[in-house]
Each structure stands twice: as structure tokens, then as C-alpha cells.
């Protein structure tokens, strides 16, 4: 167990770097779900589109009525009437719909003219379609009263809103088992896969890089220890690090979402934890594989970032899988994080604990474990191969950390 002990010493010596990785990525794990909560969750939230009214026609009862009517059905986002402000807001989807009431709109409206409201929305977006629908409904209703001469404009606007207050009764049927689990926790767990992967790759490669230097490698090979045993002991140290990562992220999750999970079914929460444990193991296997290729600090950094980002983008962590094209979806099935996301989505959509419903979840977890085993085997084989190849020797350390 000498190698294992040495690994632990290396951790102690490089504790600053390790602590930094932990702190920063744990902090990111806390921030990320908060900042992303409303992204790409098409079918989960009470639908209230964000809209902005830019009124260039002056305040009139008609425009105020429109704003009030929309305000009851969406969230009003106040923006200055500056081109850049509007551009930014629409580019970053801070507002889904900008309504620009042009000058003279009210007069033209009541005199039967055709001054149209200018609108800015993402082309063909459902939200845009919805707000369009609401505006036309309001104005068509107003048109019905003709001119405001008889009743006064304010009364007209009030009448329109009253007319439009008729609502359909909506019943919601719940088919799921137990209370639904909060979306925040879903996003947290989705992001968690990225954190786990990058954190474990960084930490593990940091430790093993000490053994990868050619002279160290040659020296180690002269010892009676088998290369496989050497690799396994390094992996064992990785297990320690991974356990630390998993425990901290799990505890963090409970601290942040514990109250929301209180009512949830214990079995569902258990499945989620099991799934994160599986991805942690997977991350360790990826880290073992990746770190066999890493020789310098420079490549350590790049490898950790690109491997983790690549796997997570392909696995639907940052961009939901529904947006993937057919071909890409096929390709991403051959990457491990896809199966993590799939299992996670299925757990969150869980309606019962029957075998038929559970099967896809078990299948997805099993697939992750198969990937894990494959990566470990590959890491061992490559470790052996690299240790024997002539190329990995014959290199002399002539610069610090070269």
C-alpha cells in the first residue's frame, strides 16, 4: 500500500490546490441552479411570459388597460426605450415579447385606421404566439365598443377587461406517486454531474501526475510492484477523493433543497442519490483514463475542462436532450452522461415503483456502470502499455515542471 500512502501524502502537500478546486466548484454548484432555474423548462412552470411595453403614444386608458390585462397573465419587465437595452433584453430572453405602441396608435385605433403595434419576439416562439393572441383579443374586444365617445375611454377599458375576465375552469390531475420533487433539485442534480466530473478529474490527475513523470515511471518500474497494482492503488486513492466529492455534494444538496424534499417519496430520493453515486464512480473511471494521458499541468487543465464540458454538453446537462437532432441523439447515446441524464429525468417523472416503470431507470444506471467498467479496464491497459513503451522513457527533466 506504499503507493496509496504516497498518494495521500501528495494530497496533503497539494492541499491548497485541492481546497481551491473544491471551494470554487462547490460554490458554482450552489449558484448554477439558482441562475438557471428558469432555463429550458418548457413544461414545468406556471406559464407567465415576460413582456415589456414601450409606450410611445403617451399614457391612455386604452394602453393602460392593455398593460393591466397582460400584467395579469404575464410578468411585466420594465425597460428603457433605448435600442441597446431592448436589443440586450431580447437577445438574452430577459423579455419574451416587446410591445411598442407607436405614436398616434390610440387615435388611429378609434378612428378605424390601421396603425399596427410593433412587436419584437423570437420568431415562431410559442410565447410570442400567446402574447400576440392576448393583445388581439384585448383590442378586438375594445373595437367591439366602437368609439369611446358614449361611455368615456376609461369606462371602455374597464368594460373590456371585465369582458375578458371570463375564464375556463382547469382541473389538474396528478398521476405521480408522492409529492413532486422540486425543479430546483432536478437542475441541481443535472449540474452535479458536471461538477463531479471536472472536480474528480482535476483532483485525481493532480495526484497521479506525480507518478507520470518519465523518470518517476522508470524508477517505479524497477520496483517489484506490478504496474497493475500501482494503478489500482492510485485508483483507490481516487476512490477516497470521489467519496469526499460525493458526500460534500450530497450534503450540499440536502442543505439547499432539504425543505423541499421533506414531502417527497423516500424511495425517489434514494434513487436520485444512487444515480449520483453511479455518476461519481463513472467520473472516477473517466479521470483514471484521462490522467493516463496527462503529463503536464497545461494539458491537465485543458483535459479536465474539455472532457467534462464535452461529456456534459453531449449528455444533455446544459442543453436538454429534447433539443438534440436525431443524429446527435444517436451519438450521445454512446456517451455516458447521456445515461445519467436519462435516469435522472425518468426518476423525476416517476409515477409508480412498478417494474415496468422502473426498468428504464435501472437500465440507464446499468449502462453507466458498464461504461465505468470499460473505462477502468481501458485505463489499466493503457497504463500498462504506456509503462512499457519506450517512448515514455528517454526524457529528461531539464526545466522545473516541464
Amino acid at each position: 500500500m506504499k503507493v496509496f500512502k504516497t498518494c495521500n501524502t501528495i494530497i496533503k502537500r497539494r492541499i491548497t490546490a485541492m481546497a481551491l478546486y473544491f471551494l470554487i466548484f462547490l460554490a458554482l454548484t450552489v449558484i448554477m441552479p439558482i441562475l438557471t432555474a428558469d432555463q429550458h423548462t418548457l413544461d414545468f412552470f406556471e406559464m407567465k411570459p415576460n413582456f415589456t411595453v414601450i409606450n410611445r403614444d403617451g399614457d391612455t386608458p386604452l394602453s393602460e388597460g392593455l398593460a393591466a390585462y397582460l400584467g395579469a397573465r404575464g410578468n411585466k419587465v420594465v425597460l428603457d426605450d433605448r435600442l441597446e437595452t431592448l436589443q440586450d433584453a431580447s437577445f438574452y430572453r430577459a423579455t419574451d415579447y416587446i410591445i411598442i405602441l407607436p405614436q398616434g396608435f390610440r387615435d388611429a385605433f378609434f378612428s378605424g385606421g390601421t396603425v399596427k403595434i410593433k412587436t419584437v419576439a423570437t420568431t415562431d416562439s410559442a410565447k410570442g404566439f400567446y402574447v400576440d393572441m392576448l393583445i388581439n383579443q384585448y383590442l378586438n374586444q375594445a373595437r367591439f365598443y366602437g368609439s369611446p365617445d358614449g361611455m368615456g375611454e376609461e369606462a371602455l377599458a374597464a368594460a373590456v377587461i371585465r369582458d375578458l375576465s371570463a375564464e375556463t375552469r382547469v382541473e389538474t390531475k396528478r398521476f405521480g406517486a408522492g409529492a413532486p420533487i422540486s425543479t430546483g433539485f432536478l437542475i441541481y442534480n443535472r449540474m452535479l454531474s458536471y461538477m463531479v466530473i471536472i472536480l474528480i478529474i482535476l483532483c485525481v490527475s493532480n495526484i497521479t501526475s506525480a507518478f507520470r513523470r518519465p523518470d518517476m515511471r522508470m524508477r517505479n518500474l524497477c520496483s517489484p510492484l506490478k504496474p497493475r497494482s500501482m494503478s489500482l492503488q492510485q485508483i483507490l486513492c481516487g476512490v477516497l477523493v470521489s467519496a469526499a466529492v460525493w458526500v460534500s455534494l450530497t450534503v450540499l444538496g440536502f442543505i439547499m433543497y432539504g425543505s423541499e424534499l421533506a414531502a417527497a417519496d423516500r424511495r425517489t430520493v434514494g434513487l436520485i442519490l444512487l444515480n449520483t453515486l453511479v455518476i461519481t464512480l463513472l467520473a472516477l473511471s473517466v479521470a483514471s483514463l484521462v490522467s493516463s494521458f496527462i503529463r503536464s499541468a497545461n494539458s491537465q487543465n485543458a483535459a479536465a475542462n474539455f472532457v467534462s464540458l464535452g461529456l456534459c454538453f453531449l449528455g444533455g446537462v446544459f442543453v436538454p436532450l429534447d433539443l438534440f437532432g436525431e443524429g446527435l441523439l444517436m451519438a450521445s447515446r454512446f456517451t455516458p452522461v447521456y445515461w445519467y441524464s436519462t435516469a435522472l429525468d425518468n426518476i423525476f417523472a416517476l409515477t409508480s415503483f412498478e417494474w415496468g416503470v422502473m426498468a428504464p431507470i435501472w437500465q440507464a444506471m446499468l449502462t453507466q456502470l458498464i461504461f465505468t467498467a470499460a473505462f477502468f479496464c481501458l485505463a489499466l491497459v493503457i497504463g500498462k502499455h504506456i509503462n512499457q513503451s519506450e517512448k515514455s522513457f528517454s526524457s529528461v527533466q531539464t526545466e522545473l515542471d516541464a
Partner: protein, 325 residues
Amino acid sequence: MAEITGRGPNGAGASPVIKVRSLVKRYGELVALDHFELEVRRGEIFGLLGPNGSGKTTAINCMLSLLKYGKGEVSLFGEPMKSDNYAVKKRIGVVMQNVAVFNELTVVENIDYFCGLYVPEKAKRKALTDEAIAFTGLDDYRKFLPKKLSGGLLRRLNIACGIAHKPELIFLDEPTVAVDPQSRNHILEGIRELNRNGATVVYTSHYMEEVEQLCTRIMIMDKGKAVATGTKEELKAMIRTGEKLTAEIYDLPENVLGEIRGVDGIFQADYSDNRLTARYPADGRHMITILDILRRGNVAFGRVSSEPPTLNDVFLEITGKELKD
């Protein structure tokens, strides 16, 4: 190397090239240099000899102004040495203990790079680079990357990078560590060649034979202090040992050893590992006295040899410990 021959060995004894006055350097509690004094004259090959950790490298790094020091003065070429004294730096060549070359540059590119830091003119630099390559015998390896070179060749490259610009003063900090005998001889011969062409050399080593062969003057260091300075003859004259006798003896009775120890003038006699060693001033008669005593005591002995003292003996007598590792 022709241009500075004017300041050849015959210039020795002129104004000192290096002058160090009571230099003190501490690393926390540890005193690495304790009022260190040094004077190196033009044209010398000056050896700094001492065991590991005696302060040789620290002394050199202080002289080069790479290290801060608490107290003391360093002047090179009569000018105080400061880290931004580029006029002085231009006249110095440094060969560090660690190989300091770019892994990614070939032999010729490395030499060209370091030479280029001193000599901006391209044509001149090319000539100097070629000369340095020929000088260090790296001609067959011009296009090799450092990691393809053997340890000895790498050391030679390290030296080539330090001397290609023909400095007047060269610091060589243990340049022969881990070098095979051929390469070592090649390197030592090269250093003599540099010196013949006018360069003053400061050379550190813990191989006493090397220093003895090469250096015109030697300083023995221990614990950050100069223990003794002089030519090797002067150093050897400093100690009582004039000759050292070694005899292979299978069994030496205690009383015979006692008798040898009692001889006037023999100040040390030891018996261990079937070997008798005795030290005495060089006057030629003690050896016969010892052999007489052995014969009278009926002690059978094998090979007997007598040799003049080495620097190791000097070090041993002054500090009471062996210089060798």
C-alpha cells in the same frame, strides 16, 4: 577564443576579478555563508571545494546577485555586482548545477538562444555557436532535442550554453556531476582550454581529484566558511601530514600498533579493515622505522605504499571529517 588572449595566465596576480568581503547569507536559522571572503585573480582557475551543503552554490549565487544576502560586498571586475549591472553580466558566463536548457529547442537552437542574449549580431553569433559546438564536441548532435541526449552530452550542452559568448569570467557549478569519465575529461580539458584563451574560471566541485588536477588555486569550504585557501601545494604544506603510509596486514597485535604510535613524529596511526595507515611529516625516515617495528614484531605484511597527502587529507586534518561522500 583568440580575442582575449592578451589577458592570459601571465596576467595573473593583477587586480582581482572577484572580490568578496565578509558575505553573510542566512536561510532562516541556518547560516549558509558566515563572513565569507574570496578573491579571485585574473587568469586563475579557482576551485571551490567542499562537501555537499558547505555553501559553494550559495556563494556563487550570491556573487551573481541571484540571491539576496544580509551583509557583505561583492565586486566583479572592480565594480560592485548588482542584478541590473548588465555591463558586468555581459562579461560573465554561467553554467549552473542544474541543466537549464529548453526541452523544445534543439542543441544548436539552445546555444544560439543563450548566445543571442549576449551577442546581438547574427553572423557573429553563428560563428560563436559553431565554435561552442565544436568545442564541446556536440557536432554530431546539432539537431537533437535535449531529451535525446545522454547525461554527459546534456552536461556538455549545458556548458556550451554558458560559454558560447566567450565570457571573461566563467562560473562552473559542479558541471561534471553524473558524467562519464570520457565526458568528464573532455569537459576538464575544455575548461583548461578556455582558461588558456584568457578566461578566469570559478569552479566548484566536491570531487577533490578534479579540483586538484584542474585548479590553480583552491578554497576549501565547510559550513559556509573558507577553511583554507591557496595553491594545492600551499594547502598541503599547511598540514602536518607530509606522507601517508598504508600497509596491508592480516593481523596486527595491539602492542605493535602502540609502538608505532609511540614513534616521535608519527602523529597518527590506525588499524582497521586489515589495513594500517600512518601519517607523519615528509622526511623519508619514518617509513623505514615503521617497517622495522613490524619486522621486529614478526608481523607479516602484504603491499605497502606511501603517498603524498591529498586534498582529502587536508580537509580531514582541518575539519576532522572526510571530504568524500
